[in-house]
């Protein structure tokens, strides 16, 4: 014992202490590393999202002066393939302008035609039909460039790829370089990406999220009305009125379990109960496959537990003395709750509801099951009844849809959709935080 004691010193560390301290340092480092990995993943995700999706908001456009000649238009309208004829008009005009500048003389007609989106002829035809008085004038159009040309502007398509591709040729890329220098082609912000309709698989450059944003809006309206009203009513009962009995216990257990049920199971519920069972029974379009109303119902059931849990917490936070005071001056229990407790709990309820809505907005799996996927190129609904009952889609479902298409140009647009979705989500969550900061009361 005395031997051992003579070796210990308060100033010099023994081997054991050194080992233990080293272990301590290592342990700390593991913890710090874990957090850094988590944060690095977050950064990686954000960089990926912005890096892959940013370009989707910009689109290459080619400026073409089109001379609207009555005879040509008549001939086009008389033909069987009208858009093909309009396509011919556009490429002839483009060829003329390029020749005047001395460009593209060695490029084939097909290649010139291929520069411009397949959707451009339809745009020209719409213009002619809407403005018959402009026939005879020369009108300047900014047509969308074909997606591979657009990809070249965004560094997605290279000359190596062009050499092997059927969709784009090196000659086209050389020409478009010269056109860019001549100011005939440029990349600009593309509002149609946010508001436009979906396009067919062959023209990703024209596809937009318009119908999907409207569909998500319709579903959010259903969720806001149903989930918030039912959720708040249920929480008031459970928090303020429920007697301690079997029924209450059963409800409590159910709510906590529903919060953990996988979302896809709610999709199965929607399919089996709302669409297959209640749909034929009710005879309305609103309870059919593909309707935003069914999507909203499914999302409402899914967000109900979130809203109930948040509402109960904020009802609980209202001090008992408020209730006692109201009851003391003769209010009934119901009046106490609706006149005093509920208004005081409102900011917390609102915050919880917004977070619930944000959760519902990002959910995709159950929506796929209730068929919220539009056919390629479908347009946005036009009437209120179609808005809720007609064929519809939602942001996440549309993003998924585009991620399954063959052309990688749709990946970029899918990431762009995620940027739009995240902007909505961040806005909603920020709003929730601001509301909480602004109105939260400490008792």
């Amino acid at each position: 014992m005395t031997d051992a004691a003579s070796h210990t010193s308060l100033t010099a560390q023994s081997d054991l202490v050194k080992r233990r301290n080293a272990a301590e340092k290592r342990f700390r480092a593991y913890g710090l590393t874990a957090i850094m990995i988590g944060l690095a993943m977050l950064v990686f995700l954000v960089v990926t999202i912005v890096g892959s999706g940013w370009n989707a908001f910009f689109q290459t456009r080619i400026t073409v002066q089109v001379e609207l000649v009555q005879d040509e238009i008549d001939a086009a309208e008389a033909g069987f393939l009208k858009t093909a004829a309009y396509r011919g008009i556009i490429s002839a005009n483009l060829r003329e302008q390029l020749t005047a500048l001395g460009l593209g003389t060695d490029v084939s007609d097909d290649d010139i035609e291929g520069l411009i989106s397949r959707r451009a002829p339809a745009a020209l035809r719409d213009f002619v039909r809407d403005n018959p008085d402009r026939i005879g004038d020369t009108v300047e159009f900014d047509f969308l460039a074909q997606s591979f040309i657009d990809g070249y502007f965004k560094n997605r398509v290279t000359r190596d790829i062009a050499e092997r591709s059927r969709n784009v040729s090196v000659a086209q890329l050389d020409l478009i370089d010269q056109m860019r220098d001549a100011g005939l082609a440029s990349k600009a912000f593309n509002l149609d990406f946010i508001t436009g309709n979906d396009a067919s698989e062959s023209s990703p450059e024209a596809a937009g999220y318009g119908p999907a944003i409207l569909g998500s809006l319709a579903m959010m309206i259903v969720v806001a009305v149903l989930a918030i009203s039912i959720g708040v009513a249920a929480s008031i009962f459970l928090e303020e009125f429920a007697p301690q009995n079997r029924l209450t216990d059963l409800i409590e257990v159910n709510i906590s379990n529903l919060a953990a049920v996988p979302s896809i199971v709610f999709g199965i519920l929607g399919l089996a109960v709302f669409i297959n069972y209640l749909g034929p029974l009710s005879g309305t379009d609103w309870l059919k496959n593909n309707s935003a109303f069914v999507g909203g119902l499914v999302l409402s059931l899914m967000t109900l537990p979130t809203i109930i849990i948040a509402t109960r917490a904020s009802l609980k936070a209202v001090p008992q003395s408020i209730r006692d005071a109201a009851l003391g001056v003769g209010a009934s229990k119901m009046q106490t709750v609706f006149h005093h407790v509920l208004p005081l709990a409102a900011p917390g309820i609102l915050t919880g509801s917004i977070i619930g809505l944000a959760q519902a907005l990002g959910e995709s799996a159950p929506l796929l099951l209730v068929g919220l996927v539009l056919a390629q190129g479908a347009a946005a609904p036009e009437t209120v009844s179609d808005f809720f009952g007609g064929p519809n889609t939602a942001m996440p479902a549309q993003i998924y849809q585009w991620s399954t298409r063959a052309d990688p140009a749709f990946y970029e647009r899918a990431w762009g959709g995620i940027i739009i979705l995240l902007i909505f989500l961040v806005t909603m969550n920020t709003l929730a935080v601001i509301l909480r900061r602004r109105f939260e009361r400490r008792w």
């Binding site: 996988p262 896809i264 199965i268 029974l281 996440p396 993003i399 990431w415």
Partner: protein
């Protein structure tokens, strides 16, 4: 009388009831609101509620009966031969209802008069063409029996609609009259109104039970239908998954269950150490500033929609792994043939679960009483020794609960595996490579539910119905995990509070 008109009438009556009830109460008190038992608006609400509530309940009940009874009685008039020719009763009924709806449209458009619609015969008119003129497209030619059924259907519906309207209006008027008769200054209208509100609140709370019942029943019925055409033993113990919409499918769940568990396992291998160490660091070492920044940032990972992770796995992480392990990759090995694999989906899912594990474990570690730490420090232990030998053993049941909850999340996760793991099921009888190699494509229960239910086929083939059996299995699996995890967490929490 149409439903919307009826609803409008009931609402109008209820609104009139509010005004009249309020007026009647006020006049019975001689215009002095203080002489009333309740405040005037309660008398109005009392009349409105008694007018509308019973009428609406009866309307819903009658509708349910009507839409079951009318098709049943129409079907009795359809000859057996016709049903056999078309296939099933449901299909005949669908044809009849489509035709009836088409005739309604034609009448609304003015292409047919109601009288013509009743007398029309297939022998004289081509109904399909007639309806096509007003934009109604029928799937098949109209047989005489179906036309007669449709006319019968319309007649019976009209009768039901008529009596339903009369009945519901009478009930609304009855409620109105009864409530008005009860209204005087001593009547305790507030109590009645508040009871009605309470009933509404209870109904809202019971919806949680109804949802669970709906989930279970909807899946149980369809699963039983599935087991009619495919044996349960073959489903639960079948080692092959090879659906074929032309029939003769092998629908064994084991390959899917294996894929689900394998991907979840990899997700947990990623999420648990990172999440747990992050929680330990945040609760034991980090200062308030670090905690205030790192914790919310980590939790952002949990708030990102799963479609984002799915797309990340599909377009970024999968190709990244392929670039490392694929042929011509930077590591010079050829382990991977496709960007989608068990590893891709598993790791991305693990990233998603990090904050889930870390915030749950954080709560649990914080719940360990400070006295236990102080005791350990007092004996001369370092911080890490305290964590490893005192805090973690004390918090272990709770951490196990958190891991189980994360596992249940991983098992039920859909979009990441749909986009990141591929669509080919594990194959047991070939080389172990087809079920053990983490670089292989593998499919899961949730992926299969999505693909079996998003096809265009009907709801009668076992290939579609199997999705409900898969859903029920998934539901039971996650429910068991959740209940067990919550049980562990609760039991543990009680020890220290």
């Amino acid at each position: 009388m149409s439903i919307s008109l009826l609803l409008l009438a009931i609402l109008g009556l209820a609104f009139a009831g509010y005004i009249l009830g309020r007026q009647r109460a006020m006049s019975s008190a001689g215009g002095n609101a203080y002489a009333l038992h309740s405040r005037p608006k309660y008398y109005g609400w009392h009349v409105s509620i008694l007018t509308a509530a019973p009428a609406l309940l009866v309307l819903v009940a009658v509708l349910l009966v009507q839409f079951l009874a009318v098709p049943a009685s129409v079907l009795r008039g359809i000859p057996e031969a016709e049903i056999e020719a078309v296939g099933s009763q449901d299909l005949v009924m669908t044809q009849i209802q489509d035709l009836a709806a088409g005739i309604d449209t034609a009448i609304a458009e003015g292409a047919l008069t109601p009288d013509q619609a009743d007398r029309i015969r297939t022998e004289f008119t081509n109904i399909r063409d007639r309806l096509a003129e007003v934009g109604v497209a029928l799937g098949s030619d109209v047989t005489p029996a179906v036309l007669q059924g449709a006319q019968d259907f319309r007649d019976r519906m009209a009768v039901w609609d008529f009596w339903r309207g009369i009945g519901v209006l009478l009930i609304a008027l009855g409620g109105f009259a009864y409530a008005m008769a009860r209204t005087n200054k001593d009547f305790r209208s507030r109590n009645v109104v508040e009871r009605a509100v309470l009933v509404l609140l209870v109904a809202a709370a019971s919806l949680a039970i109804l949802t669970t019942v709906g989930i279970v029943l909807s899946m149980v019925f369809e699963t039983l239908r599935f087991f009619d055409s495919y044996s349960a033993a073959r489903f639960f113990f079948g080692a092959e998954w090879a659906p074929d919409f032309r029939g003769n499918s092998e629908l064994g769940i084991l390959p899917l269950l294996w894929g689900t568990l394998y991907i979840s396992l990899i997700a947990l291998i990623v999420a648990v150490p990172i999440g747990l160490f992050a929680a330990i660091y945040l609760s034991e070492y980090a200062g308030p500033a670090m905690r205030g920044i790192a914790k919310p940032l980590l939790e952002i990972l949990a708030g990102i929609p799963t479609i984002v992770y799915g797309l990340f796995a599909l377009t970024t992480f999968g190709p990244l792994l392929l670039g490392l392990f694929g042929s011509g990759g930077s590591l010079g090995v050829t382990w991977m043939a496709d960007g989608r694999s068990v590893l891709t989906a598993g790791i991305v899912m693990g990233i998603m679960l990090i904050p889930f594990v870390s915030s749950l474990s954080d709560d649990i570690i914080n719940a360990v009483p400070q006295a236990m730490r102080d005791g350990s420090y007092g004996l001369g232990a370092t911080q890490s020794e305290t964590v490893r030998q005192v805090i973690l053993p004390a918090a272990l049941p709770g951490i196990v609960g958190a891991v189980l909850l994360a596992a249940s999340r991983a098992i039920g996760e859909t979009m990441i595996v749909v986009m990141g793991a591929g669509a080919t099921a594990a194959v047991f009888y070939e080389s172990p490579d087809r079920y053990l190699n983490p670089f292989e494509i593998m499919t899961t229960i949730t992926t299969r539910i999505v693909s079996q239910l998003t096809g265009d086929s009907g709801f009668n083939s076992p290939e579609t119905l199997v999705a409900f059996a898969l859903g029920l299995t998934l539901f039971c699996l996650t429910l068991l995990l959740n209940v067990y995890a919550l049980y562990i967490v609760r039991k543990y929490q009680e020890q220290y509070v």
